[in-house]
Symmetry: D2
Subunit: 335 residues, 4 copies
């Protein structure tokens, strides 16, 4: 009756979201959480055991699966530790900034025979999934063009920009995954244009805050991704797929469906402010899929191998930004 | 850490919704459920004690509050039993088809000093609440007109129609509450037009399946309510308030935000099919408000006294349908 | 090649709209205009003959048809004068505030064997016509409910209110026509609720500025009309028809299709401000229909007999406002 | 009173649109039309003189201005002929497929001291103009990204594709102009991706039918243009501008504002089918601007010099498609 026993490693913002979802999910229960800051900067949970370090929790026989929500540099080691302890793993993206390390980690999980699900939460957004279904079922015919818009409401701290691997690796990686998810295709070539419009310190850190990337997919379909570190009107997350027999668009979600009409104009609601609100349902469905995978013994829809191509595309996009020309996406080498 | 102990009385469709929400809610826990059909037509829950009768569960000291989700004719007695046992009560609407019985029940809860919250779930819909806030904060100025659209996707079984008190009591009662909730005013006069367009058996049962009701509020503002037992395109639940300084509308919710464009036209999603989907969030927020009330010792926003005016309006509307003229709404007599 | 020769009687705002449309219409030409104010308060046209009085213009053999755009009290006499001169007539609504006079005028035109088209311009709005087509073709099944929203951006001068016959005759008469036009049915009973929310002087003049009217149609379908003398957000003209197999709504038109998204929210355009903009296309299509009628010798789609029921409904609505109960719509007596 | 005398050269589809607009325009009159096919394949107009050749019409002293609506290869010679006869010129785009010829023609008109307006009709679409105004007034702050979607409902005849200069010159040239119009900036670099998804014969003719082009503007702002020769759901013409202080989008126009809701879903209208409907208002406003230019002696908002950069961008885009890398836009050389 208690369902799958899950531990959450890393108890920051995203860790607490996952922990709360596990608490509320009928087919799972939260066994423990770990975070080096617990008892220091972070308030420990009152309902479950906690620890400053992950090792003992991974070893706990009541823990069947872990959800890794720690900083990126720790992902690979934690995945490997959990896998060798025979625990199923959900890991937040990216697996690692280095594609080779990521590939090695995927192989480690495969050898250990545990499931590894990657936290590409947008795949579980009902609107984006509807677009994917329309594309892959043939409702709009062969795909010609795909557009992904992804704009954050505000830039991250400048320190984060310095260590995150930059816009292509920390932000657009989600969009690279969406292109693969919606199209069901691999990306072969990428051309990146970038600029600094929002904050000159981002430029000084060697990154861009505004980027338009064009991608050529295996079938010859074309895709564009637009990223901005700041949209003053809120978190802007949209998709548009165009095919030979039609098109489908997914818009933003709002807190209410109201329209306010006054002398100064007609107003609808702004998009939900940020990812915790916009993807609230997606996070729950993502957990449900992970539990389902463990329960049914079926491979995750978004498994470790899906972690690698977005990394390879991000690397190619960065290369294109520097070379000023289209660059091929090189094989990720997960074999 | 376990939060408020809650029992759910009645484990049919709406009972299971509330029970699941209690299970998932961090500040509450499900102590037990009761339903005469448990072990017979109904599958008992595996995670909590259950009983065919409510009495022992009400008496259980671990139960601080009950949620009454049984058929309407049992509501009054269960509220009174729980109240005299000192338990806080959440009761699905309507308290009773007879306004006098309902008023007596409200007084019983008040004398017992327990909180009584009425299950007018739509008050917790974020879009409708936004309309209420716009009206009551003065954003659209003094209210002139209010429109409530409420159409079910399909009519209930004809047996239900025969015993429910009819469209005004089983369906439009929600809309009468919305008029009070949004306007913050009492209804003084009501004119009902009705017709049978959907199913002649509803007419044979002495009811209508289509109704347009006009209401005059205390301030002189006018309201209309449109009900239909069947909208083939789904559950249609909308509000529109018009004031001297503006207007605000609330539309339907959809499963996704997509638009599909094909040769035959441009399609958006149909409204969410029925109340379990449309008001999923509202049910959760309603429970949160109930728990908050108990925890803080503050009167529920929607308490027993709010149960009475919608009944009185429904009775007046039925009278108007028969007399063919506007009828005054008579005092509910909860004093 | 010059097409039908048309004179415009009355050269105020609406007269100039029609005159400009005649000027631009390939199948017609403007022969002359008349208005008692020409040469005084009104600037005469430079391109066609003009006169202060209508008689000589009606008599001009080059004039095959007249468009009567003068104040309401002069309509009946001008229609009769033009008809007895054998000229086809387009007359702005209402024919006359007195249903008996209007009926007599209709008979006069019929006896004279000329066409008489009534200026119910909204019938030519492409969106409203689409709703009519959906209703009458059976696309939404048998009609259950119809809603007409009609709100002006600002009230007329108080002197106009005093002489216009009041809100039901000068404003809602359009909506009564829309109910007949969309439903293809006659109205049998009407219940009016009214209030003064916008300007107390309107109340002092014996009128209301806010009204909600419910109507029962011949088939048992129900309709509501909402009127306000002032919507601060612009001219609000919408329709919604609900039937057993679906529904159709027509919204407002805007000057552009843009959405502006800024920190303070997401804005769409306000409705086009007033009837000259909103019904610009309708006025042109209305003229085209009139020219077509004359050219083909076919009865106008909206002829003199259509002028009478809206008057009868308006009279019944006024009666209902005074009696406080539903009133039957009495036969207009055009036989 | 007759206004500016205008002749229309070329009486095919677009010529007839302009001729009808001149006929209806209060400040202008149609003096004559010419087309080699008149009296042969084309029905001559009944209301004005016509000729198979343009020369005599250009020479007619009643002709103050000409509108050139002939096939592209004849544009340059006709502009020069009209200019040397001292007539103002409106010329459909493109001036010529060869940028050098186009530049020479512009200089010829300038030397002759006549106005030359280029038929970039989309500049007069009220929605696109609203976007331009928002960008240039600073309403959305400094421009970061601009997106132009332009999809035709069906591909042109394959013979047209063979002689038109290809997608970049016959179709996307409008979008290159929109980028300049909206941004108020010049394009510096362009990267074209293209594919053949619609009709293999287009590929055999050496062209693409699907293209995504990225452009870098002088300020560092980035733009994308998406073209398809066929959108099965109709003529898709949209704009989206994103700036540091907000964004603005312009959507398609529809024949009505209706929503149809039935069991199979909720439908809005498809976009207006093609340019004659979508840009009906734009064509009228474009003529009004031309007449205004002549009347006021003020330079056209969209003059000959505006014809050149879109040609230069199209040439660069074609070059990029072939080189597979971003290409600079070379100076047009109109000096």
């Amino acid at each position: 009756m208690k369902g799958i026993g899950i531990a959450v490693l890393g108890y920051g913002r995203i860790g607490r979201i996952h922990a709360d979802n596990v608490r509320a999910f009928p087919g799972a229960h939260l066994v423990a959480v770990s975070d080096p800051e617990l008892g220091a900067g972070l308030q420990p949970p009152a309902d479950v055991p906690w620890s400053k370090e992950a090792g003992s929790i991974i070893a706990d026989p009541a823990v069947e699966a872990v959800m890794i929500c720690t900083p990126t540099p720790t992902h690979a080691a934690l995945v490997e530790a959990a896998a060798s302890a025979g625990k199923h793993v959900f890991c937040e993206k990216p697996l690692d900034l280095d594609p080779a390390v990521a590939a090695r980690t995927v192989r480690a999980a495969e050898r250990a025979g545990v499931f590894l699900q990657i936290g590409f939460n947008r795949r579980f957004d009902p609107s984006f999934r509807r677009v994917r279904d329309a594309v892959q079922s043939g409702e709009i015919g062969a795909l010609c063009m795909l557009r992904v818009v992804s704009r954050d409401p505000a830039p991250p701290p400048i320190e984060y920009v310095r260590s995150s691997g930059g816009l292509f690796l920390d932000m657009m990686i989600h969009d690279f995954d969406m292109v693969r998810f919606v199209s069901g295709q691999e990306v072969e070539e990428v051309q990146a244009f970038g600029a600094v419009h929002i904050d000159p310190r981002i430029g000084e850190a060697g990154d861009v805050d505004t980027a338009v990337v064009s991608l050529r997919l295996a079938s010859g379909a074309l895709a564009t991704i637009e990223n901005s570190r700041r949209a003053v009107y809120g978190y802007d997350q949209r998709l548009e797929a165009f095919g030979v027999d039609g098109a489908i668009e997914a818009g933003n979600r709002t807190a209410s469906t109201t329209w306010l009409k006054r002398a100064e104009g007609v107003r609808s609601e702004s998009p939900l402010h940020f990812f915790t609100e916009r993807y609230e349902v997606a996070y729950r469905l993502e957990l449900a899929a992970f539990v389902e995978t463990i329960r049914n013994g079926s491979e995750p829809e978004c498994n470790g191998r899906d972690a690698l191509p977005p990394l390879a595309i991000a690397v190619a996009a960065r290369r294109s930004l520097e070379s000023g020309r289209p660059e091929p996406v090189l094989a990720a080498g997960a074999e």
